[in-house]
């Protein structure tokens, strides 16, 4: 379970994230939505440790992690994917996954079959010896998810996993996330612009805008929130005298 408490991040004078709090239970898929530039990816960078928090605390299973290095957090079970893919292009697909797998090799009670199952489930079996660069885009996205899964994450953060996927692939991804939730106990954070996907996949939603958390709660409730709709779709800029 993940707990984010009062986290802020300043870049120079700009508050990219401002006093944000939310928590994600185990086996829960938690959507993080909001317009472009709302601070969603910064939030994931803060949790994964690629950025350090200016203020606030982040805990995984009750253990504070916000002072640890990114690689330490990864080994502890904070896994993520990237909006702009960050695969290792000179390593084969299998070796891409191994890079993550060797981090947890020494741990006891490891779910040894998880990665092999995921490889089948995410349709990577036939591509294991290829270079990631030669794969179709959707498959590259799936490889990033499987690679993050190889860390046996307690928290798995997916940054726009469906971006660039076709509708069939998006549907398959939805099924796979449902499968994953049963197969491996972890908290999942999902950033996604595809609201339909978010609404069907997520148990909880957090909406961010301009670095702050606007609302957090069940998807149905959150999307009815007027403030959220305005943030997401934009307020009407129309001034009365200019009505056409």
């Amino acid at each position: 379970m993940l707990e984010v408490r009062g986290v802020s991040k300043n870049f120079g004078g700009v508050k990219a994230v401002n006093n944000a709090s939310f928590s994600v239970e185990d086996r829960q898929i938690h959507g993080l939505i909001g317009p472009n530039g709302a601070g969603k990816t910064t939030m994931i960078n803060l949790i994964s440790g690629l950025l350090s928090v200016s203020n606030g605390e982040i805990e995984v299973d009750g253990q504070p992690i916000h002072t640890l290095a990114a690689e330490t957090r990864a080994k502890m079970g904070v896994g993520r994917t990237f909006q702009n893919l960050r695969l290792f292009h000179n390593l084969s697909v299998r070796r891409n996954i191994e890079v993550a797998e060797i981090q947890v090799k020494k741990q006891v009670n490891i779910d040894a079959g998880l990665v092999e199952d995921a490889i089948d489930r995410f349709g990577l079996r036939g591509a294991l010896d290829q270079s990631p660069g030669s794969l179709p885009y959707g498959q590259m996205r799936r490889l990033e998810i499987v690679r993050a899964l190889a860390l046996r994450p307690k928290v798995l953060m997916l940054d726009e996993p469906a971006a660039g996927m076709n509708p069939e692939e998006t549907d398959a991804l939805f099924e796979n996330l449902t499968w994953l939730r049963q197969r491996h106990p972890c908290s999942i954070i999902l950033i996604e612009h595809d609201l339909k996907f978010i609404m069907s996949a997520c148990d909880m939603l957090t909406v961010m805008n301009m670095g702050s958390v606007l609302a957090s709660g069940l998807p149905r409730e959150v999307t009815k929130n007027k403030e959220v709709i305005d943030a997401y779709l934009g307020q009407s800029q129309q001034t009365p005298q200019e009505e056409n």
């Binding site: 994964s48 440790g49 690629l50 290095a69 990114a70 690689e71 330490t72 990864a74 080994k75 896994g79 993520r80 990237f82 960050r86 695969l87 290792f88 292009h89 000179n90 390593l91 084969s92 299998r94 070796r95 891409n96 996954i97 191994e98 890079v99 993550a100 797998e101 060797i102 981090q103 947890v104 090799k105 040894a112 079959g113 998880l114 990665v115 092999e116 490889i119 290829q130 270079s131 660069g133 030669s134 690679r147 993050a148 190889a150 860390l151």
Partner: protein
């Protein structure tokens, strides 16, 4: 997933064996048909091979350009030479040496171990900083190391003789020794490349942030590779001193750095096989060019003497490889995958 690291390591063993057979074939050919002066060329080639393979360990896997290898080679060469040269000889060659450096002598084995440990410790100390830097920073600090060490060699003529020859080093190594060392280097470098450290290092080279997010301790992996590389250079330096019998500061500077870097990038810095192939190709090429440089009589035309031709071609090779073949001859492939399409 049951990790099948073994497969890669087994492939590594196959590849190293193939490369070793290549080395043995060359040595065998020399013993069957070669002329005695060629032993020197062959020995020098294998010393270069040690260095280039050592470069592959850090520069190749981490894809960070570093130019300090000559310095570490020089340090090890001098330490080994000072230790192993008989005191009587040192009284002549290093008459003014301080701290009784010219009043003791050690067995070859102890000298080697001492040279390796001193260079290794220096490698570790520099590595603590090098592993933290990125990009141009590493290159610059590596140049700084090279310049500093070279200045010290030149400055402390009482210990290092500067650009003059430090002579009288017993000739301890010969072709068989360096052949064994070269083969060992190939195996070690290849197994390192296929090890967990090598894999993580290569992942960092492709995408450092992605690697950190996958739990790779970038600092530690780079440090380990740096120190291992240093030990390769040290071995090469010791082998150099133990064969030639005289050393001076001159060869441990930029020219040798460029030569070895050209070898590595021609072969392809991501692959150990590339390092080996690049070394062999450039050595052969340079031998031909050096022969041309002396102005040989080709029967019909008498070639003029052309100093600088070898250097010129070395430069052309570097520029041409960078322009037309940035991944080198081997790219990502190792020798056992030579018929495979290069994925990189």
């Amino acid at each position: 997933m049951t990790l099948r690291l073994n497969i890669n390591q087994r492939k590594g063993l196959v590849g190293s064996t193939l490369l070793s057979l290549l080395i043995l074939a060359i040595v065998g050919a020399y013993y069957l048909w070669g002329e005695s002066y060629q032993a020197r060329i062959l020995y020098a080639t294998f010393v270069n091979l040690l260095v280039v393979v050592g470069l592959q360990v850090f520069m190749g896997n981490a894809k960070i350009t570093s130019f300090s290898h000559s310095a570490f080679m020089g340090i090890a060469a001098y330490v080994a030479a000072i230790c192993v040269t008989p005191a009587a000889m040192k009284a002549i060659s290093l008459p003014d040496a301080p701290w009784g450096l010219n009043a003791f002598e050690l067995s070859p084995l102890v000298s080697v171990l001492l040279a390796l440990s001193i260079t290794g410790i220096l490698g570790l100390l520099t590595g603590l900083f090098m592993a933290r830097l990125t990009g141009v920073g590493v290159t610059i600090v590596s140049i700084a190391i090279l310049v500093i060490v070279h200045s010290i060699f030149l400055h402390r003529t009482d210990i290092f003789k500067g650009n003059q020859a430090f002579f009288g080093i017993p000739k301890i190594f010969d072709l068989p020794h360096i052949t064994i060392l070269a083969i060992a280097a190939i195996f070690i470098a290849r197994l390192f490349r296929e090890s967990a450290f090598g894999l993580q290092l290569r992942a960092c080279a492709d995408d450092e942030i992605g690697a950190r997010a996958m739990g790779v301790d970038v600092y530690r992996t780079r440090l380990i590779a740096w120190v291992i590389g240093t030990l390769f250079f040290a071995t090469a330096g010791i082998a150099y001193a133990f064969f030639l019998g005289t050393i001076s500061a001159r060869p441990f500077y930029f020219n040798f750095v460029f030569l070895t870097v050209a070898m590595l990038i021609l072969g392809g810095l991501r692959s150990v096989s590339g390092a080996v192939i690049g070394t062999l190709l450039i050595t052969i090429g340079l031998e031909v060019v050096r022969w041309l440089e002396t102005g040989p009589d080709l029967g019909i035309i008498k070639m003029p003497q052309m100093l600088g031709l070898s250097g010129l071609l070395l430069g052309v090779v570097i520029v041409a490889v960078m322009t037309f073949l940035p991944n080198g001859i081997m790219g990502n492939r190792e020798i056992e995958e030579i018929f495979k399409k290069d994925p990189g």
